[in-house]
Symmetry: C2
Subunit: 218 residues, 2 copies
């Protein structure tokens, strides 16, 4: 069993420290090692069956950032933050994706692909006739939000400020980044960096409904 | 600026340590203080506009757990894990929800509700005519997956094992927990506790596509 490297107090302190940063300090850059850790946290994000039906685009090019800002109601975070990640879902997931996944699993785990046939059949069966009405694009979007959650929490733990944004026009962002032709669609933008000293949102009290209302015990 | 209470290595070690636990040690219980921290992490989860369109149901009753197991293809995690959380999305989000939120914000931040009229109008406008095709139930499901992500990452940091599950029949779970009449619908189950010593999945190498394939730099 792993021991926890962090105390309950430290975890909650960081989750309380984070907020949707509205104004970034454009002069402060995330150190390369820390950024690589956040990229690793993205790659390690869990997903249903482990299929990873997503892609993350890290945009550093200033012109591209400016174009994306136009498609995001001019929000300054898009250009001012140290880093910008576009979270994109896969538009389709089919048998070929399952084959690719299972083949890769066989390689990573150094096991014959035949031994994974049961898993392969199970996932393909789920995708072909899901146990409940399921739209693939909605499903891969949900999965991608797990990665958003892991990114936000990891960043908070590392003392990095983030602003997650749904306020943008996905079709325009997809066009700008040529995502559709690659089979992906943008769902969330996350600006990451360091809050500006005068971001007045930093000191506002967090608004969360009482625990007793949000959590039911049965 | 907050300092990070954890190093990059420690964060990645915990994210690598976690896995979708298939077999829990039914004799081990999460200490109350740690569990309260995980509940706090749920309550602190970020959401679009901060609306928190969700509810978390912590099921401890053994009979209820058994019934839920039947609706989840008999997965043993549902009954064996120390705790089980049902993540439920809100089925509808309308003007009344925005009013409730803004009123609560005024209370928490000790500010006149009139000063929040711009925010209120903006959120209502977004919900009434979203800038892109948006189905409310799909949207609240996405939000709820942010909370799933925050929960999974937080648990990993605290050394708690989790198994997130989509393999269940939402309609049956909703019936069992009487969620529909409360205006909610289940989207994910998370079993939490401690891995059994003989869970053979614990030692399998994690399968994640190479960073170079999952992350694009532009």
């Amino acid at each position: 069993m792993s021991n926890s490297p962090i105390s309950s107090e430290q975890l909650l302190q960081q989750l309380n420290w984070r907020y949707a940063t509205k104004k970034f300090d454009a002069t402060k850059k995330i150190p390369e090692e820390t950024w690589q850790t956040l990229e690793d946290a993205l790659v390690l994000a869990p997903s249903s069956f482990g299929l990873q039906p997503w892609k993350f685009i890290v945009v550093t090019d200033p012109d591209l950032r400016k174009t994306l800002q136009e498609h995001a109601w001019g929000q300054s975070q898009v250009v001012d933050a140290s880093h910008l990640v576009v979270f994109a879902r896969k538009l389709e997931v089919g048998e070929a994706d399952v084959d690719r996944y299972v083949n890769y699993m066989a390689e990573v785990r150094n096991t014959p692909v035949e031994s994974l046939e049961g898993l392969s059949t199970m996932i393909k069966g789920f995708l072909k006739s899901p146990p409940y009405p399921m739209d693939i694009e909605a499903w891969t979007a949900r999965q991608t939000y797990i990665a958003v959650g892991q990114f936000l929490t990891s960043a908070a733990l590392l003392g990095i400020d983030v602003c997650p944004m749904e306020g943008f026009i996905p079709a325009k962002v997809d066009d700008t980044l040529e995502l559709t032709q690659q089979g992906y669609g943008s769902v969330v933008l996350c600006a990451a960096g360091y809050r500006a000293e005068d971001d007045k949102y930093a000191d506002l009290k967090k608004v969360r409904y009482p625990k007793s209302e949000m959590i039911e015990h049965l």
